[in-house]
């Protein structure tokens, strides 16, 4: 009885060792020579395989980075500058630094502000709905609310707010990989520079209809009135197709545009204090008065 047991263990162990040796020899014989730096780079990458860099995954990024002459076309948005520094150190290349970015939603067409005029009962997919028609409200530019962006996010940074019918971006979790940007058929999500301490100004609308039509479709729409454009002292705002856009590179975060916007379409995000509209308006009025007096002289 005991001897059978022992024999079994011995034979199986020997067999295992023999086969392991065989596998080792075969592996040595048919080994594919690969740059060891690929493994090193892959180890420092986040490993999310999100495709935010434009490659099929982290390993694809690593092998193409090794093959590239410099890092100009390689940037891991998830890992950011910290990871790119490590990658550059491994490869001995110069680091290409980029300002940290975050996804920003450009629609504030909440259920309350944007009345529904019809009912969509097709498949629950923004892409399918957008291919059929303009949407359930009169605004053909706004969020359809079926959550394609939420499904696309592999970091759990997006969720639908049932009250507003709009997606909410969790900036802590967002890695700016850009999956949601690609998923949105209306192009409502944009990657923006995070800004100092996360502060930034955004026109939360993409409606290009003329003022009255935009207003009729949604109470929160940008109506293209141009007040922000005229008020801005830093040439950060452009007005095109009845829609204002704020260039984060030029914006000085003075919040004057937010104060003058008649529909509240401009949002200041992550500011420590709420906006004191009257004070800002007084400041603008005083400046206008001063410049008028100067003009009179």
């Amino acid at each position: 009885m005991t001897s059978t047991l022992i024999w079994t263990i011995v034979i199986l162990s020997c067999l295992g060792l023999l086969l392991a040796l065989l596998l080792y020899l075969v592996a040595q014989k048919f080994k594919v020579e690969e740059d060891p730096r690929i493994d090193e780079i892959e180890a420092v990458l986040p490993g999310a395989n999100c495709g935010g860099c434009g490659r099929a995954g982290c390993r694809d990024f690593a092998s193409s980075a090794v093959a590239a002459p410099n890092l100009d076309n390689h940037f891991c948005p998830v890992g950011g500058n910290a990871v790119m520094e490590k990658v550059a150190a491994i490869l001995g290349y110069e680091v290409v630094k980029k300002a940290p970015q975050v996804a920003v939603l450009r629609c504030n067409g909440t259920c309350a502000a944007r009345p529904k005029v019809n009912t969509y009962d097709g498949v629950k997919s923004c892409r399918a709905e957008a291919s059929l028609y303009g949407g359930e409200t009169l605004c053909t530019f706004g969020c359809l609310g079926q959550g394609d962006c939420v499904a696309a996010c592999s970091f759990g940074a997006l969720s639908m707010d049932p009250e507003t019918g709009l997606p909410v971006i969790d900036e802590e979790k967002c890695t700016a990989c850009g999956s949601c940007v690609k998923a949105c058929p209306k192009g409502l999500i944009e990657l923006r520079n995070q800004g100092p301490r996360g502060m930034r100004m955004v026109v939360v609308c993409r409606n290009q209809d003329k003022g009255p039509a935009a207003k009729k479709a949604c109470a929160n729409a940008c109506i293209g009135c141009g007040l922000c454009f005229k008020t801005c002292q830093h040439e950060a705002i452009t007005l095109e197709n009845n829609l204002a856009y704020i260039d984060s590179g030029k914006c000085k975060l003075c919040r004057e545009c937010e104060a003058v916007c008649p529909t509240g379409a401009i949002h200041g995000i992550n500011f420590p204090k709420p906006l004191d509209k009257d004070a800002v308006k007084e400041r603008i009025a005083a400046r206008k008065k001063a410049s008028a007096e100067e003009g009179a002289k």
Binding site: V117, D121, G122, V123, S125, A128, S131, L132, Y133, D209
Partner: protein
Amino acid sequence: MGGVHPHDSKFAKDCATEVLPLPKTMYVSMAQHLGAPAKPVVAVGDSVRTGQLIAEPGGFISAAVHSPCSGKVKAVAPYADLSGRMVTHVVIDVEGDEWADGIDTSDTLITALPEDRQFILDRIKACGVVGLGGATFPTHVKLNPAPGSPKAEALLVNGSECEPFLTSDYRLMLERPKEILVGAAIMQKVLGGPKCFICIEDNKPEAIKVMDKALQELGFADMVVQPLKKKYPQGGEKQLVDAVMHRQVGSGALPISVGAVVQNITTSFAVYEAVQKNKPLVSNILTVTGDCLPADRHHNYWFRIGMPLSYVAEYAGGVPAEAGKIISGGPMMGKAVVNLDAATVKGSSAVLYLKRETTKRWQEGACIRCGRCADACPMGLEPLLLNRLYKAGDRLEELEKYAAQDCIECGCCLYSCPAGIPLLDNVRQAKQQVMGVIKARAAAAKNK
């Protein structure tokens, strides 16, 4: 192959056509055809007459647009179309119905065919004729196949009208059979004299009889009336070629690749008017019908393009209270109307009022692999497989291999699915993605 048999519900088939009077304002869309939108050539304040050119073709595949009434141009601006998308419209304040010079507005039948092929093509192009079977592809392009294409062996004039509810083609066949046949003879001539088949489904015996009689009276050679089995989608281009000629059009190919040209009978009528009367395409027949209308409220109207749908609906007695969904076109392939103020276009064929319970989607269940969708698919695809591949995401190569791009969006799969799976919706998305890949590949090959 495939197909389904929905109840034909042709409630309006015995209603003779009536002419709709002109409304106060007309909204003429610049995107009434497949291809590039037309470019307006009139400005605000211009006086126009009926049949006058108001927009020229915006590209090679595009069509001219003419004024449907006489009056003053009030605006050239974007307005919402029936799905709520903004499209440039020419808005005209109607003053009357005074036709432009050189247009024969009489009802006299002209049977003598013009000799010159180029003259015919030019007339068709100048009159803005497009395919009125649904796709609104510019007719002059289709009748003039690219050099190197096979010779046309058969011209199929499509009067099958296989969509339930629709009766506009049927009424046209009963009321203007000779005009249709002369139009067909003109197209036959342009194509170099192929045999011509007037294809009519066998659920319309009166139409077959009337067309047969008209054909005998006109005595055209090489033209026959071809009865077809009733089936949806018998009137699909590739399905019709298969049914009549027993030839299969390959994936991604046009019917001309097997020597066939398919034109709708309404297009044939428009060709007749354009060539023989120099009359631009400014009117067409529209059926107002539905399952929530009483028997005396179904109508067939001659409408002018640019009449708002709401005006047509109002004239026909208003939108019934039970209507849960309004569809422009047939119930299988038509589009839900989101904006009833949208204008009618060249391709408008029906305003359909359906009850809420008729259009309501079923609760989606699990696929039981019964294969009914694959049996029903007239293109021989496997919608259940395509649906699964689409849902798995990023399986474009396989979707292309299993020919998602060949879907004609007829809706037979969705109609036949006992589990209420939105097969058409998903396959349509898959098709769009695959088409994107194919186009990108073709563009890349061109740039090389």
